[in-house]
Symmetry: C2
């Protein structure tokens, strides 16, 4: 007797129709019908009378349904216990992410994570090298380039979109008077920098900063226009997004960890949390 057949029957007994049970189980109504038929065959009993638009339980069906309901309660207990086992586990999880992502994307949400998982301590550090995982300095790494180490479990969890931002005052100037803020030369290969250079059209870079925060602060001070991730630029009330002649770049966000670490319930909770906030701030589709 296949217990999954019992599960389908339990849901059918509760909902009264193959279609409703199918929706709850997220399978096809045909599957529910076949599964319950298989159960009837295995038990040698008729559990349901099939009518054109609903099913009725037979007397035997009601008897089995009351037994299988206790199995359903136990299964739900197992699932709750599994969730509890994860949440209750005291653990420390160390996250490494590019500084801007760490400070502006992750850090603002750690309070809500802590509220839901008080026993898990997060340690967040800003870094861009993959070595953070290798050196044992982090359990999870968020990165803008796909990690290539074959021993890592890697998943693409979002897309970072960019825009060009300045104060409203700067934005009101004629476009040929716009000034720009860039990274220094060692980051000339970075897609955002490449894009910024393509926009210059003879207009000057008046400030160079080695990190995004400096660029953002300079833009807020009216120095000029800077390329910022949308989740930063759109959230800053002092800045507006400028129109641009070409589409801004988009960069995938990757999450990497080691397989044995992934077995840890605490780490999985953190991965789920990062997946959710990245999905909100950096959706895979559209900007």
């Amino acid at each position: 007797m296949d217990w999954q057949d019992l599960r389908h029957f339990a849901i059918l007994a509760r909902t009264g129709s193959l279609s409703a049970a199918a929706r709850e189980l997220d399978v096809d109504h045909a599957t529910v019908g076949r599964r319950v038929g298989a159960l009837e065959h295995a038990l040698g009993l008729r559990l349901v009378d099939r009518l054109p638009r609903r099913v009725l339980l037979t007397e035997e069906g009601r008897a089995v349904a009351s037994l299988v309901a206790s199995m359903e309660q136990t299964a739900q207990l197992i699932e709750r216990r599994a969730r509890g086992a994860g949440a209750a586990a005291a653990a420390t999880v160390r996250i490494s992410a590019p500084p801007a992502v760490a400070a502006r994307l992750v850090a603002p949400h750690v309070a809500e994570f802590h509220r839901d998982h008080p026993a898990i301590t997060l340690i967040l550090s800003g870094a861009t090298e993959m070595a953070a995982l290798d050196r044992g300095e982090a359990d999870l790494a968020l990165r803008l380039s796909r990690p290539t180490d074959p021993d890592l479990i890697v998943s693409r969890i979002g897309v970072m979109h960019f825009g060009l931002y300045a104060t409203a005052e700067q934005a009101a100037l004629p476009a040929q008077h716009w000034r720009f803020i860039a990274y220094d030369k060692k980051l000339d290969h970075v897609p955002q920098q490449v894009w910024l250079k393509s926009l210059l059209a003879g207009r000057p870079v008046v400030f160079q900063a080695s990190d995004l925060f400096g660029q953002q602060e300079a833009a807020r001070a009216g120095m000029g226009a800077a390329v910022l991730p949308r989740f930063i630029g759109d959230a800053d009330p002092a800045l507006v997004r400028l129109p641009t002649a070409s589409e801004p770049p988009a960069r995938d966000l990757w999450l990497a960890t080691y397989p044995d670490l992934k077995r840890s319930p605490a780490l999985r909770r953190v991965m789920d949390f990062l997946g959710r906030i990245v999905a909100r701030a950096c959706p895979k589709r559209g900007g």
Copy 2:
């Protein structure tokens, strides 16, 4: 969460190894491994530590195992209740079979059936027409020709083998002195009769009977050789089987009933019983 994964885990928890659980479930050890792995993934927990020659439950595994044990008990209760529902059902089941099959194949075993299912009353009648089902005179029909009514559920449950039988005294006579016992002319189309006629080679039919019993009694009385089903001829100590120039015929045994009748637990019990005794007396292979 797939309840069948839970079932595999329940057995693994009880037996301590993938191989032992596989034997109990009658599946491959690889299947048990995959199923338990799927459960671990669904729950986000590690339930077992896999060692080279055994598995150990983790602390979480022990917790889940104690919960799933109650599901196992409930499932066993459901199965026992299903068997009880079948066995306890008071019912009358009417069987129609060719007379020889009814009297010599089925009747000798009804005592054992009754012992196992005291609440089911069997009514056995000898008939060869399919109309017995149509007229509502029988619930189950055993037949030597495949029933063709599309509304019937039909299954081939055995093969009746035949032989030529006579007393040892008759058998000791020179073959050219052998005499034969046949059906009367109206059964000339029946395969056994066709075969018998093919064996005559100028030797006489000295007795004709309209039924098998008369033929068997005449053969026992030394009148000559008769074609009998093996399960009759081999079981008669007064008769021996004669060598023949050609292979005897074999006829399929078919069991037929109506679909709604088949849902009856009592009828299924009887069908199982008939299937077993026919399989023993008239196996599908070899003679």
